[in-house]
Symmetry: D3
Subunit: 238 residues, 6 copies
């Protein structure tokens, strides 16, 4: 079996993380997983959601969007449609949960960091690229806050990164691009920490159900890919 992308089954696409990609945001990262490009910004806010007022705890949340022509065919602009799609809401909730899993909210002292992940160009894996890049933006925003004594250190407890895997032609492959994803029999997204802990697992059978062995193989591939992504995050902020 040859992947459309010619990559080895366990090969990531070329990945880059470009810090300080936005003039205004307290932290930002332009992440590229091959032809998938996402601009991640982290904005520091003085207020927390109502249910946290007086709790002493802070919050990290995320919003996700795609430019209308990020996709092969133009997608309707959500602002013009008047609402965010179910898919958009699923993804932004996932990004937020993933980042909170490595954030000590009690250390955020009733401050909030809002992450925006906006897909400039899409070629599969936008949610996993978003999480991986958003971590860099969050890291830099927390550093910005620390430099201003808004927080003390150790708010960020670990790295977090994400990658997709799938069964393509029956075989497990890592980091599907759009062409591969469209043909895959199964699609799974994994979010893990720098220590290798599992934060989120989302697996979906597209056509036929998959077996325990297949799922284990996907998770094994993901573990390797995420370790590479965490290394790249370390080099980026290093």
């Amino acid at each position: 079996m040859t992947r459309p992308s010619k990559r080895a089954p366990d090969a990531l696409r070329p990945v880059s993380l470009e810090r300080a990609a936005s003039r205004h945001a307290e932290g930002s990262c332009l992440v590229r997983f091959g032809e998938t490009h996402v601009l991640c910004t982290a904005s520091v806010a003085e207020n927390v959601p109502p249910w946290l007022k007086g709790s002493g705890r802070g919050w990290v949340t995320a919003e996700y969007g795609m430019l209308p022509r990020a996709t092969h065919d133009r997608t309707r602009r959500e602002a013009a449609a008047g609402k965010q799609s179910g898919r958009t809401q699923e993804i932004q909730r996932l990004i937020g949960r993933s980042l909170r899993a490595v954030t000590n909210l009690a250390g955020l002292a009733e401050k909030q960091v809002l992450i925006d992940c906006d897909v400039l160009q899409a070629d599969g894996g936008t949610r996993t690229a978003s999480i991986t890049g958003a971590w860099v933006a969050l890291h830099d925003a927390l550093a910005w806050m620390e430099a201003r004594n808004m927080i003390k250190g150790n708010v960020l407890t670990d790295h977090v990164a994400a990658v997709s895997c799938g069964l393509y032609g029956g075989e497990p492959v890592l980091d599907l691009d759009y062409a591969e994803d469209s043909e895959a029999d199964a699609d799974a997204n994994f979010v893990m920490t720098g220590q290798g802990g599992i934060v989120e697992v989302q697996g979906t059978a597209e056509t036929d159900p998959f077996s325990q062995e297949q799922f284990d193989a996907l998770m094994g591939l993901a573990r390797g890919g995420i370790a590479e992504l965490v290394e790249l995050q370390k080099m980026t902020i290093g």
Copy 2:
């Protein structure tokens, strides 16, 4: 460790599936997972979504809702709020995907079955109860169609059922109720077929990331619970 519910770690709550729970729907099922009660109806429609017109294929889709006082504290009515929450959209997309995974859409001949899962009372596990009960409603609606020669047989290719698992006090337990879910360290939902194939996996670390071993234990528990639920489905339609 003792679960708040006093159940053994691998014990489901008392589950019941009551067919023909609605006078009007072509198929229906009132499913109870303990104190979680969901009314599932299946409505046959002559039309398919626009993108399937002329394809010869049919469609199965789902909507989900909760009565405002299904929950411990009253939740705002989504119709009054003017939109469905992200959580609602995630769940109804999951129910639809799960049912389509065991439906031969080509056999549905440009007809559509719309599943409504409405939670009358909630005590944890509403999405897994919905999937388990919706399968019965779908089964009966397809039988209704077959009796009227709208479709030929074998549209439904297998059973599908779902259950949640979680780490409670560090230990894997099956089918969390609300009290257990609120205290759980991790929460995962599994959707599997009668043959044991995996359709959907959704795992989320609530506080600390979990390990591969913990995740495998959750999946093992789920496999046993889903086998019981499938047996109950068989008895219900038998």
Copy 3:
């Protein structure tokens, strides 16, 4: 003339009021007018609407909904449509006004009771069943408040119940089911107290206008039917 339902012109359908139908609500009632089934819950809230803040007065309000397949053909889910229909708003305003007519709002002491009437199955007369069942839910919620010293007694000043009447085949009949309502020449809803006072009257000519005598006959039938419903309420809470 024979009614489709074979009932005598002045006969109600079999009516039942099932208290404590919801595990979570402070008061609740599952009301059945024949095949019309409505789950009524009453939720106690600590806050009142803004215009009552500081007034010392409380508030009772209602929301109404129908499950999509409560009806013969599936109705679009209002939460998915993004708004409540004009019909829904009319009905929920009517329920709220009817209950407030027998509530001493000054005795509610800046607390609020929110009534939810959700139609599980519809066969005509959903608004009158809702009012009749909602009174029981309200009664029990007020008892719950009194038991906790949130209010003193005598907040509920009387019973309130409702029934529809119509001209079917030219003849006045009580409590129309869906088949009768579809064929009726006129349709009227009456809301009255236990003392026989009139709270709301809504009469509509469907085809030809009706006369004063016809309207008086409808009201006479309603008076008898509502007296029966009030008796049933008394037995239910008794």
Copy 4:
């Protein structure tokens, strides 16, 4: 008892009906019930709602609105709020039903007349003034259609007009203005035809329930007032 308006209990406010109040509409009427001023226009459309396509029948429907400062205190503009209130929807549904009660829809031949009732200034009774004026606008639009051979005669089968009554200081009075309505114990709106047939009755107890005798007295007053309004309609179109 003296009414704030000094009128006799059975006295209407000064009423005027000004035809052709709009340059563009096929029929129009500026109706004044004292200081309540409503501009009613009737617009002829070639299309009918989807459910009437191919039926040969036409349709009459209505929309209602209030200018934001028609009221004593400014009311939020519904277009800015993004939705019509429940009150607005109730009123526009009532206007449409009232007009359809005197229209032979089969004679409208798959044409539609859309009535717009916009309150320029409000002082109580806006819905009854709207119905009374809308009848003139509809009459003139139908005449316009007849002159162009779009319909044959006799589409309008009778007059229809409306008035409110209430209990003020315990006594039945006709045609309440805002000051009277605010203090009334009960409020009822009556819609009747030129022949005296009842089209709609809506009675609401504001504080205490009212008796059968009180309700009969209100209807008697309404009958007299509506007869006067019908006379005025006849003079207007004469």
Copy 5:
């Protein structure tokens, strides 16, 4: 060249400004530019927008609407559509800016004046008529405030009025009605003060771009027309 309206190129339509056109508003003006009729009301509010709280400054803002049958063909009601069109929002923002340009907001002392411009009948130039009439309504509302010592004098610093110009048949003409506007090659709206200062200029080429000379000619016509409108305002309030 003859204009459809037979007017000289530099002739306004007959213009009238009718003060106190609303019983309830603190200031109001029914403005007529020929067959274009706009009811302008000014409502005084005790509150300012959030961003001005504590600033000591007040605010003037505007909303704009058209009755559905103000136009030749009926336009969909924005309240029913659930949102204001882009055109509506452009116009109401323009009205607000124009009035604020001649208001000393610091003198408004955290009070707000809300202007509503509602087009009862449209024949071109609704935004320019709105601005011209709204100034009168604002003037009278400020006088009302001054009489109650809510503000001190000199809040209104100058007159402001507006007119449209266009190229019709290649020739510059003043104050286009609908028939002229539909055929015009270019359309420009000018807002100027009593002193002749320019507040807003909006010019749009409908078909071919226009030249500097053409634009200058349009502005010259506008200057003359606005001077006439300001004279009329002076006579109206004088």
Copy 6:
């Protein structure tokens, strides 16, 4: 007077036009006016708006958006807010009109080009940068269509570009950045063709009204700036 940007009064910021900035769009351009960066894409669609069906004419339209953190402080995401602001709608209407002014719609043969202008980073002048860059995207999309024989040549009749001018410290300056715009006494946007024809003029006095002479000076500056931008467009596509 020295501008905050140290530029000469008639100096543009460094401007760049980067073609083919999007992998998927038929035409695209990343335009930079200093620190203002806008991604413009042109998407070819086979359908036209309903009112053009059967007319033989095509259409060009535009949508505009800003990433939430394109601005100094984060702006609420319009898709999350559920609607586009009035400002957004004004700008996207302006972009569409400007491009249509140099497009022969009859030559577009019932095809449509949808322009998306998304601001990645904002520092003043986003609408003028959008128009200038969108022209390049439109040009390339039309070339793409021509290469596929979807249209014949000469659909694009001229260049179009735009720039802002303002009075800063009383003196006319070209191409205001955010710091200058915030302090400007007046702000005007000009859209002109390659031939020097005026397509749109929008001038607004921020504090005091401005004079004819001042406005003429702004237009003179704009004419020079736009000539430079058109030269850059020519080099870009050359």
